[in-house]
Amino acid sequence: MITAPIANMTGKIETQTLEVSIGPQHPSTHGVFRMDVVLDGEIVRALKPVIGYLHRNHEQLAEKMAWLHSMPYTDRLDYFNSMTNNWAYALAVEKLAGIKVPERAEYIRVIMAELSRLQNHASAIGFLLQDCGAWGTPLLYAFREREKILDFFETVSGSRMMCNYLRFGGVRVDLDEPMLAMAREIVAKFPKFLDEFEKLMTTNEVVLARCQRVGILPKELAIAGSISGPVARASGVEYDLRKVDQYGVYGRFEFGVPVGPVGDVYDRYYIRVLEMREALKILQQALRDIPAGPAQAPEVKLRGFKIPAGDGYGRVEGPKGELGFYLVSDGGPKPYRYHVRPPSFINITVLEDMCLGHKVADAIIILGSIDIVLGEVDR
């Protein structure tokens, strides 16, 4: 005998909330990430991100080893952008130790950081569209382009992703003429890919239906949650450390900071396309103006490197947002305190606010639109 009533006296169907664990192995969760979701039918009523599956004790580890030895470990934070991770750490150390970086090295750093931004944004929107259900095609188009940039990284630094390329006071390998020619070729060919990609996706009706007015992050919440990077700019916060801090030689380049009008998933997709176009402008200027000279400050020793006591915070505009390193030195060969401010970790704190009231499938693309890397969230 069936006892459970399907409908109550008013004729309305009674529903129960259901707690579902999404992840940690779901392929669309960008790494080992779990979401505890409370569902009412298909609507998300509560969402709790569960992190820590990829914890590797990065900060404590760095406090136990010499300053330089953390450099290869920073590659593994956000493994898409080892170059910008290196830069943030090197910047913090250079600030603390008062090292002056040669001009050429600054330009090389800009070139590397902007190429990282290109390949990160290309793969980020590829993954986002894969989360939307466009299996394979946009992601592989993006990866085809990313591959060329990774080949360039391998030619220069020796490794495709774990570059370990920057050193305190410069870079490890100087760019010679064939390498610069390779970079110029990438920059020359990239707009063609962007145009093609936009034709494929920007006006696609399915993408518009899935992404517009979904996962809106209000400007006030973005500021209150100290959200940074493309996610904040898509919500209309005009905040770019390349403009605000003008670290390195960014003050010399002309480029715009695109800002999104609504702050939905579509804006977060499109802001990345626009940022890639701005990054190409910076790259063209940097590759044109790169001066001759040394690529490494000669006074910085590899071994026995010590920093006077003090503390310093170095931050760069990584492709995912503000990446900062807070370092405290007690004058010894190791950092006394080493803290990372990872953009992905701060950016997923607003995941619940964006997902409430949307469907489960929307929660997946909202997560994809934040573009997190779990290596950086869990450290």
Partner: protein, 207 residues
């Protein structure tokens, strides 16, 4: 012109162009038949470290100074210095292990080595069936000739060879000058002791 579904049609045109193009443009055909065909890796490409020897594997450039052991961030290098019967150090490693399951290919050992002895290989076929001993590279696995190094990294090896040659020449010149001074001293003073033998020319760049 704008009509409903234009975005979809445009997108399909892009994929169709890529599909057809893949038959005509060879640079789009990125697939490589791997074991038969290989992609040439760039010269800077790096995988795991190896040790360089000049003439014979019995005399590696490595002097077992243990700098790389100390400087290795994940501490994957283990070195024991070779000693003769009397316990005198022989300036070369008896044990030199690199655990490549721990090594993170960061190249810091190469940068800190003062003897140009440890270098990065570009051999990426390191898959093994076992998990422990098979991934532990011992001294015989690590030792590779300078010819091999020249072959995989021509520019870098040429620079290293030139540097070592210059160092050896400088050392020989210094030694000759010291010997000349000693000889002059011996000639000036009464010949109580026989003059010291002239120094042998350095053998290769083993110095």
């Amino acid at each position: 012109m704008n009509y409903p579904g234009k975005g979809l049609v445009d997108g399909l045109a892009v994929t169709a162009r890529n599909f057809v193009g893949s038959y005509f443009y060879t640079d789009r055909l990125t697939t490589v038949q791997y074991p038969e065909e290989r992609v040439q890796t760039p010269e800077n490409s790096r995988t795991f470290p190896f040790l360089v020897f000049d003439e014979s594997p019995d005399k590696p450039r490595c002097t077992a100074c243990k700098i790389c052991e100390v400087e290795c961030p994940p501490k994957c290098i283990y070195i024991v210095m070779d000693r003769d019967e009397k316990g005198k150090p022989r300036q070369q490693p008896k044990i030199f292990d690199i655990d490549i399951s721990v090594c993170m290919q960061c190249q810091i050992c190469v940068e800190v080595c003062p003897f140009e002895s440890i270098k990065m290989d570009n051999d990426y076929e390191k898959s093994r069936y076992g998990r422990f001993n098979e991934l532990m590279l011992r001294l015989p696995d690590l030792l590779k000739s300078n010819e091999y190094y020249r072959q995989i990294k021509p520019t870098e090896a040429a620079a290293v060879d030139a540097k070592l040659k210059a160092e050896a020449e400088a050392k020989a010149a210094k030694k000759a000058a010291a010997a000349a001074v000693a000889a002059a001293k011996a000639a000036a003073s009464p010949p109580a002791t026989p003059p010291p033998a002239s120094p042998k020319p350095p053998e290769g760049s083993a110095a």
